[in-house]
């Protein structure tokens, strides 16, 4: 099911921060069968956008279309969306089975499947979410990860047009989070369900989504595949929000990039003329001998970073800080003078 978000505008008070916020003329096309992440900081409007798509909130202006169907005025009960909440929102007086069966049992008599069919469907979902032996348990008897899987099964039970997840892993610890993330991707690949999920964790978004839409202050900054938004960010915000970056003040004159008056060996800059900011990711910074390097600085600190390490270098002259990713066991010491070479960079003016 293709979902079209067309010129959605909404003024509201942000739930997290309590401050007034807005969705400002947001348009987005979610392709049928894709897994799309809405990524942004708190108060960026990502959750509100998701809730507007679900019909839990209404926009001041704009339309929501599901394929050819204008869904803008359709109430949430009739939209047929599977919604998963950050804090599960399970019915705690119902056991796992009844929670999952709920969406089928509340149907009008004419469309309600017979109880045997409901049982078959719930059991199928229980095995899909790997909770086959848990049907008699109450939510209070489950761990966070198990609860969220029940919530997902409950949302899938109504055979929704799409699956919407609001920070689904936000309340879980790191390990469970990682497992569930991979598992959500697998479920998506199996069911082919059009899925939108909201997250503020860029690693999560890039890790499992087909495409990522990055929001800031109620506007979409960029929509693209994880590779596109990571390697070809459309704005300084996207650059700094997706992964670590260092920023250097530069000047561009006649196509040459000057840093503190010194020319940097960077070619093909299309940023135009005048002062700008150069962004570089730690993975694209190499440390070298001071002689012949384009920049020099002193190593301020070294720290372990997953399988390698990171060195923080304070540049001579400007005092700007640059982080470099090093393989484990590199012979660099704190306080040492080093040369700094930049690989792939982005310049914004």
């Amino acid at each position: 099911m293709d979902i079209f978000v067309e010129h959605i505008t909404k003024n509201y008070v942000a739930r997290e921060t309590g401050s007034p916020a807005a969705l400002d003329d947001v348009s987005l096309h979610i392709r049928s069968g894709e897994l799309l992440a809405l990524l942004g900081p708190s108060g960026s409007g990502k959750t509100t956008l998701l809730r507007v798509i679900a019909g839990l909130e209404f926009a001041n202006r704009g339309r929501i279309r599901f394929g050819d169907l204008d869904a803008t005025g359709i109430p949430v009960q009739k939209r047929g969306v599977g919604f998963v909440f950050q804090h599960y929102a399970l019915f705690r007086h119902m056991n796992v089975f009844d929670n999952i069966a709920y969406g089928l049992r509340v149907r009008e008599r004419a469309t309600r499947p017979p109880e045997a069919e409901i049982r078959r469907r719930v059991e199928e979902l229980l095995s899909l979410v790997q909770l086959a032996t848990f049907e008699d348990r109450y939510p209070a008897q489950l761990s966070g990860g198990q609860r969220q899987r029940v919530a997902l099964a409950r949302a899938l039970a109504i055979e929704p047009r799409m699956l919407l997840l609001d920070e689904p892993f936000g309340a879980l610890d790191a390990r469970v989070r990682k497992d569930l993330r991979r598992w959500l991707r697998e479920i998506h690949d199996r069911t082919g369900q059009t899925t939108i999920f909201v997250t503020h964790d860029q690693e999560e978004a890039l890790g499992i989504a087909d495409r990522v839409a990055i929001l800031k202050d109620g506007r979409i900054e960029q929509v693209g595949t994880p590779d596109e938004v990571h390697d070809d960010p459309a704005s300084p915000f996207v650059m700094t929000f997706i992964g670590d970056t260092a920023a250097l003040n530069v000047n561009i004159r006649n196509g040459a990039v000057l840093h503190a008056g010194k020319r940097l060996p960077i070619v093909g800059s299309s940023a135009g003329e005048g002062p700008g900011t150069l962004y570089v990711r730690p993975g694209h910074v190499q440390l070298a001998q001071t002689a012949g390097a384009s920049l020099t600085g002193r190593v301020v600190s070294l720290r372990r970073f997953s399988s390698g390490q990171r060195a923080e270098v304070r540049l001579h002259g400007t005092g700007e800080l640059v982080e470099a990713e090093l393989p484990a066991g590199s012979h660099v010491n704190s306080g040492q003078d080093v040369g700094v070479n930049l690989g792939q960079v982005r310049i914004f003016r």
Binding site: R92, G103, Q141, R154, W183
Partner: protein
């Protein structure tokens, strides 16, 4: 399909009854001792004395009292009307509590404070106000009189007095639970296609049931023992609008202490059985609705 390694939650797994477990937080002995002493002096000893006193009249005395039609009719009136009043309070108290929690409206705080008035007002004052309001020529009684309904000096008047004094019990027990209801479960129910009425019935009310039952029990117990407000509005006609507490007072005025204590003991027994039953239903519903 990846395996998801995770320990199941420990919550809700009962470990059986134990008198006392070693704890890092002291306080069991003084707390338990005070509970026993306090309960004894305030509740158990006075009630024990009552029963002891009543037992003086013997089995035949009890049989005489229980076969007195005037006593029987008073018991029926007291327990029947108290039950009805508590039932009505359960319904409307729930609606009031819901409104107070969920909606912001001008005067909300005043309305919230007004709920407690029946707690604070001397019951005689309440009885006199109600009686004058609902008298055939009173502000409200006029309307009822026009419809041909007599309120004051009838069982209906007793019922209104009992509703009045019982209301805060329901509102105050249910209110905090309504405030705790997670809005997301209502939204979840809606996304799953449930109508508002269905959500109310299947998702919102069941978790409130234990608290509602508590409120009901408190309002009921309060109504059974109510004296002050009822005597002014009831008219106290034997066989029509005479409640048990009045009957007890009448016996006392006749210096028939044994009779008074015997009626009181019967009343106590019925109340105890009913409250016990309500508690059992409540324990069951707590388990049923996942609060175990």
């Amino acid at each position: 399909m990846s395996a998801i390694a995770e320990a199941p939650g420990q919550a809700g797994i009962g470990t059986g009854w134990r008198f006392r477990e070693k704890s890092a937080i002291p306080g069991f002995v003084p707390a338990f001792a005070w509970t026993l002493i306090w309960l004894s002096f305030i509740v158990l000893i006075p009630l024990g004395a009552l029963i002891l006193r009543a037992s003086g009249i013997g089995v035949s005395g009890f049989v005489d009292i229980l076969s007195d039609p005037r006593v029987l009719s008073a018991l029926r009136i007291t327990f029947g009307l108290s039950f009805l009043a508590a039932l009505v309070n359960a319904v409307f108290g729930l609606i009031i509590a819901w409104t107070l929690v969920r909606y912001r409206f001008p005067g909300a705080r005043l309305a919230d404070a007004a709920v407690d008035l029946p707690f604070a007002l001397p019951t005689a004052v309440a009885g006199i106000s109600l009686a004058s309001l609902y008298a055939p020529n009173g502000w409200l009684g006029v309307w009822f009189a026009e419809a041909g309904i007599k309120v004051a000096y009838t069982p209906f008047g007793i019922f209104i007095a009992l509703v009045f004094i019982g209301l805060p019990f329901v509102v105050r027990t249910v209110q905090p639970l309504i405030a705790e209801i997670d809005r997301e479960i209502e939204e979840a129910s809606a996304t799953l296609g449930a109508s508002r009425a269905r959500t109310l019935r299947s998702v919102i009310l069941p978790p409130l049931a234990p608290a509602l039952l508590t409120g009901f029990a408190l309002a009921f117990a309060r109504a059974v023992g109510e004296y002050g407000s009822v005597i002014f509005i009831a008219g106290n006609l034997p066989y029509v609008s005479e409640i048990v507490p009045i009957l007890i007072v009448i016996k006392l005025e006749e210096f028939n202490y044994a009779g008074a204590t015997a009626i009181a003991t019967v009343m106590l027994a019925i109340s105890f059985v009913m409250l016990l039953a309500i508690n059992l239903i409540q324990a069951w519903s707590r388990r049923r609705f996942g609060y175990a």
